[in-house]
């Protein structure tokens, strides 16, 4: 990257079920927090926020042109507002490009989803091709079950290794005030929990969550002026894979490897295991944390299970993964990838309280979308 782009503010709502909150209330709550925190305002003269990049999905909002929800509460009125209809990590990726282009100096990114108002599996079913898969009743959970089964069969990943991801992330979530989950689970609890879609058990899937999160990014000059602790976006990449899961090798997260290669190249990272201090990734299901660690190059192919067994990804390990509790702690879809950036920024600013990774200087942020991780976005953040 020829110019530096800095994160100057991050904020979010809590992620519990929020029946009392309208979609716009959720966005507004996060926006208000980040404005209070940074003291920035929506301005026309370059002294504050120039434009808004929003992130939401029409299907989840039940509202076509869902960025209408970002107009009132997120500074979109008569101003530049553009909606990224993909995971929140892509919204950050796009906002950084808008600053690198020189068109804007400071952008507010706002992602929201209120999962509790809809049955997400019905939505995901319309994300399956309409001729065959949709009729079968496939959704992203049943597709994930196929991926998990193949991963276990081919790589020898055990149910216990997947359960360990849940135990670790649940424990980590206790230190995260935004996380709605409140119960620590044992391996036995997970392994005896009801099955959602074989082999995935209920606590191995991301719980339903509502909420919004907001990030402000700016040029180097402005970031240095507005905050003592800027977090820099050092590299980023994203990639699409094929739609139909049968056309992909589900145990080879090819698009993730490509996205990571692009981000590492830009950031000058050659050995992520050594050079990265913590990882915030999007595990919609427990097994995905192991598979995404492989895709991110944190361990050799097929060794995601051994990685969690070794404790390396736990607190105090050499490569802590999801010290926030990750998505299994309860983060809304779409918000997920941007919330990973919020968490990574808090870590790099040494503001992560109980879940702080000591001396964190470089963090990986990962967002994904589609069945079995069809598309991935990776960002490298640094202090």
């Amino acid at each position: 990257m020829k110019k530096k782009v800095g994160i100057v503010g991050v904020a979010r709502t809590s992620y519990g079920k929020r029946p009392e909150a309208h979609l716009q209330d959720l966005s507004f709550e996060a926006v208000q927090k980040v404005l209070e925190q940074t003291g920035l305002r929506f301005t026309e003269d370059g002294s504050g926020i120039d434009a808004t990049v929003s992130c939401s999905q029409d299907h989840w909002d039940g509202w076509t042109i869902s960025s209408k929800n970002a107009i009132d509460g997120a500074g979109g009125h008569l101003r530049t507002e553009e909606k990224v209809a993909a995971d929140g990590a892509y919204a950050l990726y796009y906002a950084v490009l808008c600053i690198l282009s020189g068109h804007h100096d400071c952008i507010l990114i706002i992602a929201h989803t209120k999962e509790s108002q809809v049955d997400g599996r019905l939505i995901e079913n319309t994300g399956i091709e309409p001729m065959y898969g949709r009729m079968l009743g496939l959704d992203f959970t049943t597709c994930a079950a196929l991926q998990a089964r193949r991963y276990m069969d081919e790589r020898g990943i055990t149910p216990t290794q997947c359960a360990r991801v849940v135990v670790k992330n649940r424990k980590n979530a206790m230190g995260n005030p935004a996380a709605p989950v409140s119960e620590i689970l044992t391996e036995d609890d997970v392994l005896t929990a009801p099955i959602l879609a074989d082999p995935i058990r209920v606590p191995e899937a991301k719980p339903v969550a509502d909420g919004a999160c907001a990030v402000i990014v700016a040029t180097e000059e402005k970031a240095l002026q507005w905050t003592d602790r800027p977090v820099w976006v050092k590299g980023m990449g994203c990639c699409y894979d094929r739609h139909y899961p049968g056309y992909r090798d589900l145990i080879d997260p090819l698009a993730l490897r490509k996205a990571a290669t692009m981000a590492y190249g830009m950031a000058g990272v050659s050995d992520p295991r050594k050079e990265v201090d913590l990882v915030e990734l999007s595990e919609y299901f427990a097994y995905q944390e192991l598979l995404w660690c492989e895709g991110l190059g944190l361990c050799p192919e097929g060794e995601g299970g051994k990685l969690v067994d070794s404790g390396a990804t736990g607190p105090g390990g050499d490569i802590p993964v999801n010290p926030s509790g990750g998505l299994l702690a309860g983060v809304p879809v779409n918000v997920a990838g941007l919330d990973r950036a919020v968490e990574a920024a808090l870590q790099l600013r040494a503001e992560a309280e109980e879940r702080q990774v000591e001396g964190a200087r470089t963090a990986l942020v990962h967002g994904t979308g589609g069945a079995c991780g069809q598309m991935h976005c990776v960002l490298v953040l640094g202090r």
């Binding site: 299907h59 509202w63 960025s67 107009i71 101003r79 990224v84 990726y93 490009l97 589609g370 598309m375």
Partner: protein
């Protein structure tokens, strides 16, 4: 500003009411292929793909994910933008940001809609706020009815003028091989067509079309090496606004307007445009109803307030007139919604390249403005030039 960005290639399907012969991916693929051929590139030369479509309109969650192969996105970076009717404009803007950032040398922008598979009006109902607005207004026709009614009340404009505007756009559309409706109609035909919401008649409204449009954007270095004259996207501007019928959004004086005035004001100031009608050679405005045209002309500063209908009456907006508008036949002739914003930019680029065939305007086109409009009153606009 960042690196200079040019349009290297454009491609669009022939837009039709029904495309039962192709599925979504095949239809998109037609436009992508044409754009790549036009740019003298293959998909391997494309660094990133920007996709626009509205999930609820199509009835597909993550419509980008579903059409990866058709759009050439396999193993490429890219993302999907969705801002409703402005989506096509937003996608072009997003492509511009990618190339201007210096991280990508080429970007493929893809917009499409297949309304034979999923009628958009069903989801347009949900474009309104659910508690109050959804009961009051559905779809887009009502917006143009209030616009038309208001315009007639405030000016000397009569129904005949809107009908004439529609006839002029139909005359242009017949010269555009890609246009969906190529109607041979007279003012009398328009006035005799069925009332939808008075004064909007059936012929005043855009059709439901299937189609796709793709652009290849490139950095200056790449564009200069391409086979076609580069068309420069000199500047762009977006303004959205809060829209609520209940809270007065559509019943306040000149409701849909301010975003356009604000966006045009900002873009003109940055580019030293003080006399839009004189400095811009051709306009591809996103006009979903002939009744909107009068408002658009005034809000983009093409003429004084209350005077647009007189310019139409003088037929100044024809291909050989002093202020050619919608030489392609416009959105009232062709409306594959997700593609419509991309088509405006593509058509303006063809005018600058002087490759618009029979629909080429008589003037020597050096500059053009292309816009996308949607969501009740949102606007994305582009200032295109022949000179870098």
């Amino acid at each position: 500003m960042g690196d200079r960005v040019a349009i290297m290639g454009v491609g669009q399907t022939d837009h039709r009411y029904m495309r039962p012969d192709v599925n979504h991916e095949e239809m998109i693929h037609e436009a992508v292929r044409l754009a790549l051929e036009d740019a003298g590139l293959t998909i391997r030369d494309i660094d990133t793909v920007i996709f626009d479509n509205m999930d609820l309109f199509e009835g597909h969650y993550l419509a980008d994910a579903m059409t990866v192969d058709g759009a050439g996105m396999y193993l490429k970076p890219g993302l999907k933008m969705n801002t409703g009717g402005t989506s096509g404009g937003t996608a072009v803007a997003t492509g511009w940001q990618h190339v201007a950032s210096g991280l990508f040398e080429t970007a493929l922008v893809v917009g499409w809609q297949k309304q034979d598979a999923s009628p958009s009006i069903g989801s347009l109902v949900t474009a309104r706020e659910p508690l109050y607005d959804r009961e009051l207004a559905a779809g887009a026709v009502g917006i143009f009815a209030t616009m038309g009614l208001q315009y007639m009340q405030e000016t000397g404009c009569r129904e005949e003028h809107a009908a004439l505007a529609r006839v002029i756009m139909a005359d242009n559309a017949r010269k555009n091989p890609h246009a969906h409706l190529k109607l041979e109609i007279t003012v009398e035909d328009v006035l005799a067509s069925r009332v939808l919401v008075w004064p909007v008649r059936l012929l005043h409204m855009s059709p439901t079309s299937c189609g796709a449009c793709a652009l290849v954007l490139g950095s200056e270095a790449r564009a200069r090496k391409g086979p076609k004259t580069p068309v420069w996207i000199r500047d762009l501007e977006t303004a959205h606004r809060e829209v609520s019928v209940f809270r007065g959004g559509c019943v306040e004086p000149r409701p849909q307007v301010s975003a356009i005035e604000v966006a045009a004001g900002r873009l003109y100031r940055r580019n030293g445009i003080t006399d839009p009608a004189g400095q811009i050679d051709v306009w591809e405005l996103y006009t979903p109803s002939s009744w909107a045209l009068f408002h658009w002309m005034e809000l983009f500063g093409i003429c004084e307030k209350g005077q647009a209908w007189r310019l139409v009456e003088k037929e100044a907006i024809r291909l050989d007139g002093p202020i050619p508008i919608e030489p392609s036949g416009g959105v009232v002739s062709t409306n594959p919604i997700g593609a419509s914003g991309v088509i405006r930019v593509a058509e303006a680029a063809l005018q600058i390249r002087k490759e618009a065939g029979e629909r080429q305007v008589a003037k020597d086109v050096k500059t053009a403005v292309a816009t996308a409009w949607g969501a009740g009153s949102w606007i994305v606009m582009f200032y295109l030039t022949r000179e870098a």
